[in-house]
Symmetry: C2
Subunit: 224 residues, 2 copies
DNA sequence: TAATTTTCTAGAAAAATATTCTAATCAATC
DNA sequence: GATTGATTAGAATATTTTTCTAGAAAATTA
């Protein structure tokens, strides 16, 4: 029934260069995902039918069901595909930094920049972060937010012990970092943001730092 | 087609007192909404059919369509109904406070407490905050997050001018307040929260305050 | 209260949509 | 170049949503 092995590793994405629109022919699965994202972004997930995906992707119904098992399977597959792209983009940047502060700056900046550059993907991911099927799939895969947060926690925990970050619960710490960024992006998507993304990223990173860091004036050395 | 006037004002909700389960008979519309919420919470929105709602609510298909116009109409109506309840509960608490700090504390505490007390409603609202139909309905009604944030901004703007709060963009300010709370609730729903809700509320309010407030050590009087 | 109008309820019929199934094609391996 | 497994195709089937017509209840008017 469900697709058996098929690694979630993302194959070569179709990129069109500027005006030439040189859409490299991709495999059935990839074509379906691309078409689905476009449709979902334009009219919402609930409103798009399998037939619309078939027409847009020029793929038969049979192939669609062969690859994704069901309508919901398509949605979940797209979510995982996009999440993986996002994760790779984020990790590539994060790996360059190793202090809590630069880590935070980079996280906020990269997250926002990526979301602005890929509005359709970012919107889809945001809309579906809360979805049942996705949540369950994440739970099974041990992925999702938790996965992204692991390196963050790895870096933050020692900082907490060193007295650089406040001794708040890990989930509170993560919420303070991730929450504002997601909330701002939502307002940005809704057209209610007053700031350019890069400026907002700056303000967010600065203020979030004040939320999580022990003020330098009050900082004492601990343990030794 | 669509329901014409029918005020979104919420009629008397069915409450069952303790073990006696005295479910007061409510109107068709209300029965449908209650049944829908239970089904949505148990199996997700996409997975529940109109027929299931009909059976659970003991209401005919015709009535369902008469009241809500469509399947999506039911979802939207439920969203608006629950949002209104939440809004009323929140405003009742917020109206008692008039300094930025106590306002923040109350907002965080009330939001979390209400979400914990009404897990099904809170989860539904969270899942659908990002939904297309709901977003559009909100835009039309000028409601949603913006509505809640108005009193908050009304209080915060002067505080920014007085130098008590940092001079950050309004949307950033709101994101800093709302984002962490929503993010924490999500982790709580997923069973990943390590803290009791009331303690988390305390930590969140304290840290969010540090994010948005000008530190007392650096506070200068402005404008006279 | 009786007549009249409007709103609401009912469920069968129709339309739209998702899923299954069987056969045909393609690609790789022996 | 046969055999095997994976993929594609789309007609047939099953499920689900929506419409439609008629009757019941409630509200309104006389």
């Amino acid at each position: 029934m469900a697709s058996p092995a098929r690694k979630p590793v993302v194959p070569d994405y179709t990129v069109k260069a500027g005006a030439h629109e040189r859409t490299v022919k991709a495999g059935t699965r990839q074509r379906a995902l691309i078409a689905a994202l476009a449709l979902f972004d334009a009219q919402g997930v609930e409103a798009t039918t399998i037939e619309q995906v078939r027409d847009a992707a020029e793929v038969s119904i049979g192939s669609l069901y062969h690859h994704f098992g069901s309508r919901e399977g398509l949605v979940t597959a797209l979510y995982e595909d996009l999440l993986e792209r996002y994760r790779i983009a984020l990790m590539a940047e994060l790996s360059k930094h190793d202090t809590p502060r630069s880590f935070l700056d980079t996280f906020v900046k990269t997250h926002i920049a990526w979301s602005v550059r890929h509005p359709d993907a970012a919107r889809f991911l945001a809309e579906h972060r809360y979805h049942r099927a996705v949540t369950m799939a994440e739970a099974k895969l041990q992925r999702g937010t938790a996965e992204f947060m692991r390196p963050l926690m790895l870096l933050f925990r020692p900082a907490v012990e060193a007295g650089i970050l406040k001794p708040v619960a890990p989930d509170v710490l993560i919420s303070l970092v991730v929450g504002p960024v997601q909330a701002w992006l939502r307002s940005h998507r809704a057209g209610k943001a007053s700031l350019r993304p890069d400026l907002a990223a700056k303000q967010l990173a600065d203020t979030i730092w004040d939320a999580i860091a022990v003020p330098t004036t009050a900082r004492k050395t601990r343990k030794t």
